[in-house]
Amino acid sequence: MTKLIIILLSAVFINNYVLSRFLGICPFLGVSKKLDSATGMSLAVIFVMLMATAATYPIQVYLLTPNGLGYLQTIVFILVIAALVQLVEIVLKRYIPSLHKSLGVYLPLITTNCAVLGVTILNIDEGYTFLEAMVNSLGSGLGFFLAMVMFSGVRSVIEGADVPESFKGLPVTLVAAAITSLSFLGFGGVIENLFA
């Protein structure tokens, strides 16, 4: 149980996908302008990360590894995740239209997001069990959510700030992202010692 908590917390804070691993930067910079779109995107990412792990973990363990096809991991995972997201979209549209409407635009956007692919591959690399892998996916999604929400707050402050002309737009956003990411490095080493 302690191990699961450590995995969850370290996925959210220490190995935060956006701020420490630098995966999923594209939506992080693109969709973080407004709080509600950032929330929608993050919820979709959490959802897809969980689904993708649940689908790809058995494929790796029962299909690829026994047959010595580990090198096909990336291409097979992309294929499966892409198909899965499409399927989820169809199902949501049919049965939960309200959820489809709120996630709608963001679902196809994250079909082959590197954060999603990264979670599934890193789950295998770390040698997690299925439960651990699911917890790690949840933590990674929550970490993405945290980064997005935090950064949308940062951006709304930048919007009102008097930024030098040459820094306006993307440059100041990248500087802010760097500082936000730096602040997350402070978590390093905290979780391991929490349960020691």
Binding site: I59, I75, V76, L79, A82, A83, I90, K93, R94, Y95
Partner: protein
């Protein structure tokens, strides 16, 4: 060769399975969309102005498809043309649209009123109003910074000599300017109306006279000359009840008698008449 096959075959199989699942899912779980929806949506102008009371043109089209009681004459920018098309697509009786145009209830231009401060803040009426009710001496009047002109999808509004003016030949009556005006000076009237009160000052006559030479001073002269009792002075400003104003036997008596000239004779039949 064998190495290639052992790699290709599993991927192909996985791909085919995924494709098959997706095909089946899209067939089984297809959502039935009303086939009239795209046709209805095509009839609407797509300005998303909200004059119909729904959330954009998509919202109105959806309401028309789902609820047969939704009136087809709610699209004011589209006027009779759109209403006729909608009634044809939906197979209901044609309903006449009451075409509207926006009018500005203020005539306080630079010739009639003065500035009390020199405003150099943000170029927005809403921002200017926060500072002592705007730069002009009349706190009820046009702020002259053109919030209305910025939102107009037809470029029908311009700020001329310090007061907003609306060209009825371009105005489609969507009412976005009316929502944007922080002083609520703009209203929509049916485009058959002929007289408009161009003042909204609720100040007493003496105060209004001091700050603006074209303001309504509430003298009630118009009330007396109106043969139909359609014009009333309420809160120190004349208000026309357009329900009574039609078919006036003594056309524009109010405008001709007005001591400050704040009741205007206006030809509002522009855009809609041109469109038929």
């Amino acid at each position: 060769m064998e190495a290639i096959l052992t790699a290709v075959i599993p991927v192909v199989i996985i791909g085919v399975i995924c494709a098959a699942v997706l095909v089946i899912a899209s067939k089984v779980m297809a959502v039935k969309e009303d086939e009239r929806f795209p046709k209805v949506r095509e009839c609407l102008p797509g300005a998303n102005c909200g004059a119909c009371g729904f959330a954009g043109c998509d919202g109105y089209a959806k309401a028309l498809c789902e609820n047969p009681d939704t009136p087809t004459n709610l699209c004011i920018p589209g006027a009779d043309g759109v209403s006729r098309q909608l009634s044809e697509v939906l197979g209901v009786e044609f309903a006449d649209v009451v075409e509207q145009v926006a009018v500005v209830h203020c005539s306080g231009d630079c010739a009639h009123t003065q500035d009390k401060v020199q405003y150099e803040g943000i170029e927005s009426c809403t921002a200017a109003k926060l500072m002592y009710g705007g730069k002009g001496s009349c706190t009820y009047g046009c702020l002259g910074l053109g919030d209305c002109a910025k939102v107009c999808p037809q470029d029908a509004v311009c700020v001329d000599n310090g007061v907003a003016r609306i060209n009825p030949k371009d105005c489609v009556g969507c009412g976005m300017c009316a929502k944007a005006c922080p002083n609520h000076l703009i209203s929509l009237v049916a485009d058959v109306e002929r007289v408009v009160v161009a003042c909204s000052s609720k100040d007493k006559g003496a105060v209004t006279r001091k700050v603006c030479s074209a303001g309504c001073i509430g003298c009630k002269k118009c009330e007396k000359v109106c043969p139909l009792g359609a014009i009333k002075v309420e809160n120190n400003v004349a208000v026309i009840d357009y329900d009574k104003c039609h078919d006036c036997p003594d056309f524009a008596a109010c405008a001709k008698s007005c001591t400050t000239g704040c009741i205007l004779i206006a030809d509002l039949q522009g855009y809609h008449r041109l469109k038929g």
